[in-house]
């Protein structure tokens, strides 16, 4: 219990940020038209590729001789990048399709 109280006090900023971000998220996304459900999903899916950043930060502090975490983190970077780059590319492909039609 004490641990949790200490954690709460040490991380009060993060907890504020987390709470506000949740409200912000709901506020930003609400009222999306049906047309955009799929692009929004693939776009937000791409954003979850930010985990790539975490993998980069962790591999940078890994000992160069610790091959197991090195390989795991590299795999994490590969997968995160696929998620990020692939997701953004597929979203832009979809949105271009919408736009192309609009100019007509």
């Amino acid at each position: 219990m004490n641990d949790i109280i200490v954690f709460f006090e040490q991380n009060i900023e993060i907890i504020y940020l987390l709470t506000f971000a949740v409200f912000l998220g709901f506020e930003v996304i609400s009222k999306i038209p049906t047309v955009l459900h799929t692009p929004l999903m693939s776009g937000s899916n791409a954003i979850s590729g930010v985990v790539l950043i975490g993998a980069i930060l962790l591999i940078r502090v890994t000992e160069p001789t610790d091959y197991f975490p090195l390989i795991m983190a590299t795999l994490g970077i590969i997968l995160g990048t696929i998620n990020l780059v692939g997701g953004l590319a597929v979203t832009s492909r979809m949105l271009e399709m919408f736009n192309k039609k609009k100019r007509k």
């Binding site: 999306i32 937000s44 975490p69 983190a73």
Partner: protein
């Protein structure tokens, strides 16, 4: 480099990300929104590469290798995937994100010798668990959507009970391990296996019409793991991005549930099993119509409405439907599309397909508009939709989809169903619509049938 500058760049990236996502939810600015998000994430990655860390081992070679390989695979698959396979693609990408988050937890654990303060270790273990669930859940969803996994492959005895037990055990283990402050290797392996197994029992029994809900909620889950990974590595951009994805996924999940008139709980813990239940068998004779007769009927109609479903995606019929639209509009027939919110296998699936075929927005009617339009429609053609037009949802309280808002075809003059055979739809529910007085069936591949209709129309 100066740490203040780097923090400043991260702050700007966070603002760009929020603005980008905001723009992504409006049709006019969506493209810019996506670009802004890309810039924001790119900045975040650059900062992560040079940000001062405890030990400067860096391992840049591994990072470069990972980014090049991942980027290459990502771009190639994004370019190649057909629009019809979008739900599978999103699931697959989503699973990769989840696994990446799980690996972050694992690397953290190895780096810190599987020990840490209780809360710290607890958060890392929670992230490992959620990341693995998001990963394996997305893979199961991918298997189901791509047809590689059939629902009967996934029949696990006592699935629901097992599911709850594993969840309790896993949560219990997180608490115990965190208070111990240490995990041994076998304990870690056990934890990983349990998490994966939980993920399978979580998604396996959900199927049928609930697929869009599953995809949206797995999306949310990956977002949450990204946010927790942000806490672990103390990166605000990750935290923010993850939370935003989590919220958008939750909103979409709720929207999809609302479109089916079901509560979230009933989707995840209810009885909408992928396997067939004791559904009331509908008896009767379905009437057939020939393509040439239908062509004549269409040519002399005033209002025609297409009701697309997943079958249209499978038959790749969206382009030929657009040709039908052009042909009939030249004959002064009004031509619209009725889009049910859960038609297809992911939120907004039909809109993407029709956009690919250059159908303009204003011809797409949403549920309410469509239902008033369908009352005065001469011919409604159901192309590969089934459950979203199933009158059992209104008439039969024993039906699994009872209460779900549907596209009502009872007042439409003529309903034509394009279908391969009399098999029930994806949800495994028999459809009484086929036996109604105003319904006629046109059997065969939807694309081929419409091709024949088009040929006949040119002769009318």
């Amino acid at each position: 480099m100066n740490i203040v500058i780097l923090d400043g760049v991260l702050f700007i990236a966070s603002v760009l990300l929020i603005v980008g996502l905001r723009k992504l939810s409006n049709p006019d600015s969506a493209s810019n929104g996506n670009r802004l998000a890309a810039v924001a994430l790119g900045l975040g990655v650059l900062v992560a590469l040079v940000y001062p860390v405890e030990t400067q081992n860096n391992n840049y070679l591994y990072i470069a290798f990972g980014i090049v390989v991942g980027g290459f695979i990502g771009i190639i698959s994004a370019k190649k995937v057909p629009m019809t396979a979008m739900p599978e693609m999103v699931s697959l990408f989503n699973g990769f994100g989840g696994l990446s988050a799980a690996l972050i937890s694992l690397v953290w654990m190895v780096n810190y010798h599987f020990s840490g303060e209780a809360t710290e270790l607890g958060i890392v273990l929670l992230n490992l668990f959620l990341g693995l669930v998001a990963f394996i859940g997305s893979m199961v969803a991918y298997g189901k959507l791509s047809g590689r996994l059939k629902d009967h492959h996934l029949k696990i005895p006592f699935n629901k009970v097992l599911n709850i037990i594993i969840l309790l055990v896993t949560v219990g283990l997180i608490v115990v391990f965190s208070f111990n402050g240490y995990l041994s290797t076998p304990q870690t392996i056990l934890f990983i296996v349990l998490s994966l197994f939980y993920g399978i029992t979580f998604v396996a029994p959900i199927g049928g019409a609930d697929m869009p809900v599953v995809i949206a909620s797995l999306n949310a889950l990956t977002g949450i793991t990204a946010a927790i990974s942000g806490i672990i590595t103390d990166n605000k951009l990750m935290l923010l991005g993850g939370v935003l994805v989590g919220s958008s996924g939750i909103i979409l999940t709720l929207l999809m549930c609302k479109a089916m008139n079901r509560s979230v709980l009933s989707v995840f813990f209810g009885n909408f099993s992928a396997t067939k239940g004791a559904e009331n068998q509908v008896e009767g004779n379905a009437k057939e119509i020939s393509a040439s007769n239908l062509a004549i009927q269409l040519a002399y109609s005033q209002r025609v409405c297409i009701i697309p479903g997943y079958g249209m995606a499978v038959a790749q019929a969206q382009k030929i439907v657009k040709e039908l639209e052009e042909n009939l509009e030249n004959k002064d027939v009004e031509f619209k599309y009725a889009i049910h919110p859960v038609a297809g296998r992911m939120p907004g699936h039909m809109n993407v397909l029709l956009a690919e075929a250059d159908v303009s927005y204003d011809k797409l009617l949403d549920l309410d508009e469509a239902n008033s339009y369908l009352e005065t429609t001469d011919v409604a053609i159901v192309v590969g939709a089934n459950d979203v037009v199933n009158p059992s949802a209104l008439e039969d309280p024993s039906s699994k989809i009872y209460g779900m808002p549907i596209l009502k075809l009872s007042k439409t003059n003529n309903v034509i169903v394009l279908k391969r055979s009399m098999n029930p739809g994806y949800a495994g529910i028999q459809n009484p619509l086929f036996f109604k007085d105003n319904t006629k069936m046109l059997f065969g591949d939807a694309k081929k049938s419409i091709e024949i209709i088009l040929k006949e129309l040119k002769d009318v």
